[in-house]
Every structure is written in C-alpha cells, then in structure tokens.
C-alpha cells in the first residue's frame, strides 16, 4: 500500500466543526483517485490540507516519501503537488499562452540567479513547451486570446494547462467539470486520461458522478469529515452506506 500520496490520521477543525476527522487515505501512483461526498463532507478542506493552503491540526501528509506536512503550498508545488481551483483562477491580464508560461515560473530550473539571466534558447524552449501543453489541452488555436475572453469551459481547461506547466507529478483537480457543456466534458475526460497516460497521478474532487465513475480507478467517499468508504467505482456504487448517505439522497 505504498502510494504517491499518503494521508495519515489528518485532522482539521474550524471552531466546533470537524472538517477532517482523522482522515487516512493513500493514492497509488499512476491512478486517478476520486474524492466524493455530499456537500459539506470536507472534500475541499481535505484538498487544501493536501496542498498546504491549510495546516492540519494533527496527522501527516506524505508525498512521494517526503513528509510535506510542515511545507508551504509553493514548496509542495515545487515537489510536484499541484492543484487547480474551483473558481476560474487565472492570470486574467495575460493571454492563454502567457498564462501557461507563467504557470512554469515557479518550477523552472532554480539555479542561482537564473531568475535574472535567461538565454534566448531557454526562452524559446519555454515557449515551445507552453505551446505543446496548450495543444494537448485542445486550446492550441486560442494561444493569443486573453484569458478573460475565453469561455467558462475553456477557462477551466486553461486552469489545468497552467497547473500542467508547473510539472505536476500529482495533479489535484477541484471540480473541473463544473459548468461545462457535455462536449467540453467529453474533451476534458480525454485530457485527464492523457495526463495520466503521461505518468502523472490525479486526485479528483467532483460532483458529476458520471464523470467520476468513468474516470476514476479508485474512489474515496467522505461524509462529515470522515472516510465513509473506499474502493473501485463498482464497489463504491454498491456500498450500502454510500447509497444511504450520498447516492440515495442525491
């Protein structure tokens, strides 16, 4: 049970509300791991605990053998733990391609004074890679369009492209399918699968059950800050507690 990401008894309370109650889970490398649960189950909290936007009250987060619990968000990102956002968080003053270039700013080579001196050849390589990422996300023809002028669905995908530019080994997607048309959803499913095919692992928080069932290798169900069930999509679908707590009421 060694995974690329492990949570060991992670706990987080807001005032009296236990948003994460001794949550333990393990994400196996190279898989797409779903995180589902009813509203208020603590999915987003758990997401923020994994990426370091919140610090856990107790428990540990281990990423690829490194204990990242005390690390900042950006330090975790540089290790390859990168997230996207529920809201369309983008560098809205920049074009799509500039956004992707910006996405790599924090994780490009970090030699001394590299932030000051960059050879033209390095720059060309950066642009080339940004173009590839945009292409792979199906936004190749939108490179020069200002991020703010893209459609909602395109902005969502651009958010993923920005995260990809940071070179994630584990990509955390926060409700990526929200507000997308059926066609965009199909495209996104393919994009997510291609990301995995290139070697990254993925954790997915999502409400769209069809997409989750289609994509995920394993699913963890949360309820009231606790792990309710875990297993393959089929196991989870048939789990009586899950049906009672979640699917039954959904």
């Amino acid at each position: 049970m060694t995974g690329i990401l492990q949570l060991l008894a992670v706990r987080k309370a807001f005032g009296g509300l236990l948003a994460a109650d001794e949550v333990s889970l393990s994400v196996v490398a190279g898989t797409i791991h779903g995180l589902i649960g009813p509203n208020g189950a603590g999915k987003t909290t758990l997401f923020s605990l994994i990426t370091g936007f919140y610090r856990a009250d107790s428990g540990t987060v281990v990423f690829d053998g490194t204990n990242v619990t005390p690390m900042s968000t950006s330090a975790r990102a540089r290790l390859g733990l990168v997230r996207t956002f529920q809201s369309n968080l983008l560098f809205s003053e920049q074009s799509a391609i500039e956004n992707v270039v910006s996405g790599g700013l924090g994780t490009r080579s970090r030699q001394a004074f590299d932030w000051l001196f960059e050879r033209p050849s390095q720059r060309a390589a950066v642009m080339e890679r940004a173009r590839e990422i945009l292409q792979s996300c199906g936004l190749g023809d939108k490179a020069e369009v200002p991020a703010g002028s893209l459609s909602h669905g395109q902005q969502r995908i651009l958010g993923i492209a920005v995260a990809l530019a940071a070179g994630p080994r584990l990509l955390l997607l926060d409700e990526p399918f929200t507000g997308m048309t059926a066609r965009e959803k199909d495209a996104l499913v393919e994009i997510v699968q291609s990301i995995r095919a290139r070697g990254a692992s993925i954790v997915l928080v999502e409400h769209d059950m069809r997409a989750v069932m289609r994509l995920c290798d394993r699913i963890t169900v949360l309820n009231f800050g606790k792990v309710l069930a875990e297993g393959t999509p089929d196991q989870v679908r048939r789990h009586p507690d899950v049906m009672a707590a979640y699917l039954g009421t959904a």
Binding site: G40, A75, Q86, S102, G103, L105, W115
Partner: protein, 330 residues
C-alpha cells in the same frame, strides 16, 4: 513589434531631450532636470514594489538611508563618489532586508501602516541622534570631483552633475527594464495578479515580494545618494510622509502598469509641479483634486490614455481583491 519600436523611439527622444537640456536651458532648469531624473528613478523603483501588489510608505525613507550613508561616508571618511553610490545602495538594501522580515508578514492596509511606522521611526531617529545632524541634518557635502590622466571634471558644476545623474539614472532604468523582462518580472506580475494561483504553481510569494522590496530599496538608495550630492545637504524632513504621499500619488496618477508610464508620468508631473510653483500653497489641493478625479474616472492611471499609442496592455486589468479559495463547501 510596432508598439515596441515606438516606445524605443519615445525613449530615444526623451534621452536626447535630456542630453540637450543644459545646452538650451539655464542652470536653474538644468538643476531641475537633475531633480526630474532622480524622481524618475524613485518612481520606477517604487513601481517594482507596486508590481508585487503592495503600496509602501517606506520607500522615501529608504532613499534617505542612501542619502545619509553617502553624506556620512564622504564627509567623515572622504570616500569617492562611486564608492558612496555603491555603499548607499547596499545600505538601503540592507535596511530594507531587515525591515522586510516583519513588514512582509503584512499585506494591504496593514503593510501600508507597518511600512509607515517603521519608516517614520527611522526618520525621527535621524532627527533625534546628533550623529545624523539632528533636525538640521548634514550639510556641506562636497561635490564629486574626477581627476583622471590630466582630465578633471568638477561635478559641482550644475551641467556636469546633471550629466552624471542622467548617466546613473539611465543605467539604473536599463537594469530595471531588463529585470522586468527576465523571469523575475514575470514572477512579480504573477504574484500581483493572482497571489493564490502563483503559490499553487510553486512561487514562494513572500520570498519574491521581499526580493522586490530589497531591489527597489537599492535603487532608492542610489536616488538618495544622487539627491545628497545634488543638494549638498541631507535633512530628515526631505523624507517625510508628505514625500511618500507624493510618490504614491504620482505612481497612481501616472499609472504603474508599464515602464514607460512611470517615466513619462514622472517627467510630466515634475514639469506640472514646477509650473504650479507660483501657487505653492495651493499645490497640495490641486494634487488632491487630480487624485480624486483620476480614481473616479481613470482608475488605471493616465497611462491608459497613452496605451493605444505607445503599446502595452490593451485589456483592462483587474485589480480587484483576489477571490481566495473557498474555505469550505458547507
């Protein structure tokens, strides 16, 4: 490439005009030209801080650190001009680095007030401690003098000092412009636009905000050294809150989005400022009205009016509060 070549053209015209200034204008306006050059350096270095999304009241006092450093070194130890220039920059950067530890834990209004408190405390210490000349400050700073292989230039002469200042300022501007094109400039912009997103892709925003604060201070220190020699004296009152306010106002009115915006804004505003000299007492009020009008009608600064001509971003930038990640989906 067209906008870029135009802004290069504008830059060349500006530099040419500056170089020709002493030939057509008298000493009074040449000395004024020196002041403009120093102000442009202050504004463009201030912009580095603004680029990371903060407004600081400490920048003018950091300029003062450079000025006092140069004054003391040249008067007490007889250091030559280039050495005082380097020392002034280094000292300002050092003070900024120390201040940045407490200050950069704050943001927005807290950072503004924190920077004010720290800066004002330093300024009051200058007034209090005899070593810094107390309220009278330090005066009789000897002008730089160059003696090299039979050629001697006395920079006490207004025109000569103007050219010296111009050279130093242009070098600094080129350095800053280059930095902004480099990766560090991109990182600063990313932090300003979306701090949360920047952190999520691995940018340690506090480190880079600190870097911006320190680098800006180094340039402010150079501006301070230039100022000390230009006036021949340094007083604490030259670095008071009023000057910090003016720096902020000019940045806002001129706009800080683009490099040329600050430079052009600085020149225009200094000339405007000078032309208001006949109504010295009413000047603050005029600035107040301009500031209010700009905030109400041109919240991105006057450079937006020029943007279509000289190039630069055409899309309205968003400076609204970052919608932080939703804390909990409850």
């Amino acid at each position: 490439m067209r906008p870029r070549s135009i802004s290069t053209g504008v830059a060349i015209v500006l530099i040419a005009a500056a170089v020709l200034l002493p030939l057509v204008a008298g000493d009074y306006f040449t000395a004024f030209g020196t002041e403009i050059a120093i102000t442009v350096l202050m504004l463009s270095s201030y912009r580095i801080i603004v680029l990371t999304g903060e407004w600081s009241f400490a920048h003018v006092v950091l300029q003062g650190v450079g000025a006092y450093t140069a004054a003391i070194l040249v008067k007490d130890l007889g250091w030559p001009f280039p050495a005082t220039l380097a020392a002034g920059a280094a000292m300002s950067a050092l003070v900024a680095a120390i201040l940045s530890y407490p200050l950069l834990r704050m943001k927005g209004f807290y950072f503004l007030m924190g920077s004010f408190a720290a800066a004002e405390a330093i300024r009051l210490l200058w007034r209090k401690i005899p070593f810094f000349g107390g309220t009278r400050g330090l005066s009789n700073i000897p002008a730089p003098y160059l003696e090299l292989g039979g050629v001697s230039i006395d920079f006490g002469h207004t025109t000569n000092y103007f050219y010296l200042t111009l050279t130093v300022v242009i070098c600094c501007l080129l350095l800053m412009w280059w930095m902004e094109q480099a990766r560090i400039g991109g990182i600063w912009r990313a932090i300003q636009q979306q701090d949360v997103l920047a952190q999520s892709i691995g940018i340690e925003s506090r480190t880079y905000r600190r870097l911006a604060f320190v680098i800006a201070a180094a340039f402010a220190g150079i501006a301070g050294v230039l100022l000390a020699y230009a006036f021949g004296s340094v007083t604490a009152n030259r670095f008071s809150l009023n000057f910090a306010l003016y720096l902020m106002i000019w940045s806002i009115v001129g706009g800080t989005r683009t490099f040329y915006g600050v430079v052009l804004g600085g020149v225009v505003l200094m000339v405007f400022d000078e032309s208001l000299r006949f109504a010295e007492e009413l000047r603050p009020g005029v600035y107040g009205l301009i500031l209010i009008a700009v905030m109400l009608f041109f919240p991105q600064g006057l450079e937006r009016l020029l943007a279509p001509i000289v190039g630069g971003p055409t899309k309205a930038p968003r400076r609204d509060v970052v919608p932080s990640t939703r804390s909990e989906n409850a």
